[in-house]
Symmetry: C2
């Protein structure tokens, strides 16, 4: 038989689902967001503890990516574009300060440690990312997705993803010794922003009438599949246009959020979300190397020191960025906390640094550790600063806010 | 970035969903089951026409296997074990005659063509399989899953899957020159039957109370995920116990069919089914080699002749097997027609024959062609012999029967 590992993969999925549900419920029992438990489930199943789940396995990696695509699609479905644009100025300020400040602080830490310019630049770049997935999931769990603070964070995180791609392209060019031209940077930036603008403008004209028409012909389940096709299609297109897949999925959600069929679609997508989304967080957790955390091992001391300095720069930089929309009467500490998690985007920088030999193993571990701690820090911090607002009846919330409303 | 092909895979999924939906609706428009259109969609996207979908790609192959697992799980959820056991005698008769007769006929064709014993045995073995997936999907589409004929076919197909595994093991041993012992064959048979018996007996005691308990604590969406975990878990266990993954998924469905929560579970699983199930049929279709069908190419004549003879043996053998429960007042031609499709199981035999060099390229193509035609023949034949029974209101049928109730 050509693929003998299919039953085994099914078994791994069961393990991942079970651990995610179990530790998610446990996290909630101790007053933490479920996503924290799912991340811990991943750490436990991952390579450095039980070694049951390989986050780099092609199939598991793909399923986890579908998870973050579905998550951002769900977030988009619950987001009002008008509301998002209304806080656009604040989002832009948070995004820009949240890139410049962590980069400067990270570069400073690098120079302080006596690293070369190139190494300090890549380390600084790894601090600029924001993992919209983690924060959005926590805000949804808290029932706070509609608050202005959440809208500002979402907008800033989306802008950060675009900026992150530009930085990634630039840094990638630098590490490979290519010349970085103003034209090249402008092109990448223009493509990414252009994609989102054109998609939202054209899509607003085309998508709602198409879905209104389709809703008369097909069942809700088929309508959901059409919506999923739009999300995956725009995810593909976003990547082809030089943007990120999750931006495409988010844009698809924004477009459908304005259709009268959004409720049916949300319900159908929620069931797919229950399948795919936890896989994303488990796989992110599984990529964590626990060994470098052991303070009893003298080999780790330098790594832990460097990681500590980078972490301080990472947390301080993003947290202070939350105060940049000084003119708005919003909880700035919530915004700052929401921008802290680096998640998978930070890991991409770390991997790039390692692959291009700009980072040695110790610096790679330190950056990974920084990413990990910011990711695990944000959920409890957000919950503490932004206490949950419960829906009147948990069983009614069929959308993403129901993702962890059990227990 | 470590996996640059993720956006591309998302794009392929969109293509597969779109082609499946479009050609499925088209098939229904011309009075055929939607699954026929999905198979054709696969042929068009597959290697021998547009070459857009590679059925052997690890990720697509896995997603399609999840599709057939979810499908058999859905079929199990709609199947009453008591009803299935009531027609157990008829099912067993159909299964046994449906293995012996096609094997004898296939072996006869092989000897008639002057093939060696070994080659004739493998060719005969390839004729014994039944693809429960195709038939079950068609019966579900026709709204006929609860009829005695359908129950007999389902039971026989499940038994056939167990017998098929035994034959596969035996033939695999033969082609590799191993000694086939009575003890070895008995062990394989015993394990496969034992798994199903133990699972259903133990599961009947454990699963319903567990789900009753769980339904008080968690939301329907989480209950659905628990059900999916049971299906995937039993699929893994079935394989580990020497049975087939789809038998495990079917057993999970049978167990949950008796819980009061079955309706909630069916609704949730149906949404996953809309995502995964069409992928299975598209991938089956994509594996079809269209080149060998061209009668203008003289190279294909011998292949077409051999394929024609094997096809006659395949159709006749299974169709006549439908008449073996002579004592029951049921439509025997429907049962016979339902047993005809070989689907993916037949292809496994063909691949094994090729891999072990028992088959040359021409015979491999002939067997593949036979499998293909039986697979494409069954849906229209079944629909013709067993006209659809419509549910009162298509929007009400949230389960698998809703899979193709649009258009």
């Amino acid at each position: 038989m050509p693929h003998p590992d299919i039953p085994q993969l099914l078994g791994f999925l069961v393990l991942m689902f079970a651990a995610a549900k179990l530790l998610g419920a446990l996290a909630q029992r101790v007053g933490q967001p479920a996503v924290l438990g799912e991340l811990v489930a991943g750490v436990l199943l991952g390579g450095s503890v039980l070694a049951l789940v390989d986050p780099h396995h092609e199939v598991l990696h793909f399923l986890s990516e579908v998870g973050v695509v579905v998550l951002l699609f769900e977030i988009g479905l619950e987001t009002d574009l008008a509301k998002l644009l209304k806080v656009g100025g604040a989002s832009s300020a948070v995004a820009i300060v949240g890139v410049v400040l962590p980069f400067a602080l990270g570069y400073g830490v690098g120079k302080l440690l006596g690293l070369s310019d190139m190494v300090a630049i890549v380390a600084g770049a790894a601090l600029t990312a924001t993992s919209v997935g983690i924060t959005a999931r926590v805000l949804a769990e808290l029932g706070r997705l509609q608050e202005p603070e959440s809208q500002i964070i979402l907008g800033a995180a989306v802008i950060d993803d675009i900026v992150g791609l530009v930085i990634l392209t630039v840094v990638d060019g630098l590490t490979r010794g290519e010349e970085v031209t103003f034209l090249g940077v402008s092109k990448v930036t223009g493509l990414a922003i252009g994609f989102l603008t054109v998609t939202l403008l054209l899509g607003s004209l085309v998508v709602p009438p198409l879905f209104r028409l389709a809703s008369r012909k097909v069942q809700p389940a088929t309508l959901t599949m059409l919506a999923v096709m739009l999300a995956f299609g725009l995810a593909w297109l976003a990547n082809a246009a030089g943007s990120a897949v999750i931006i495409g999925a988010f844009a698809a959600g924004l477009l459908l959020a304005r259709t009268p069929q959004v409720h049916d679609i949300e319900k159908g997508v929620a069931q797919l979300g229950h399948f795919f989304v936890p896989l994303f967080f488990v796989v992110v957790g599984a990529a964590v190397e626990v060994r470098v955390l052991n303070p009893l091992d003298a080999n780790n001391w330098q790594t832990l020191q460097v990681a500590g300095l980078l972490l301080a720069a990472a947390v301080l930089g993003k947290f202070l960025a939350g105060y940049s929309p000084f003119w708005l009467p919003v909880k700035k500490n919530v915004i700052g906390a929401g921008m802290i998690p680096r998640g998978e985007v930070g890991l991409i920088f770390a991997n790039m640094g390692l692959a291009t030999k700009v980072f040695d193993g110790a610096l790679f571990s330190a950056v990974t550790l920084m990413v990990m701690v910011t990711t695990f820090l944000a959920p409890p911090l957000l919950k503490w600063l932004f206490p949950p607002r419960r829906a009147s009846e948990p069983h009614e919330s069929s959308g993403i806010e129901g993702l962890a409303a059990d227990a």
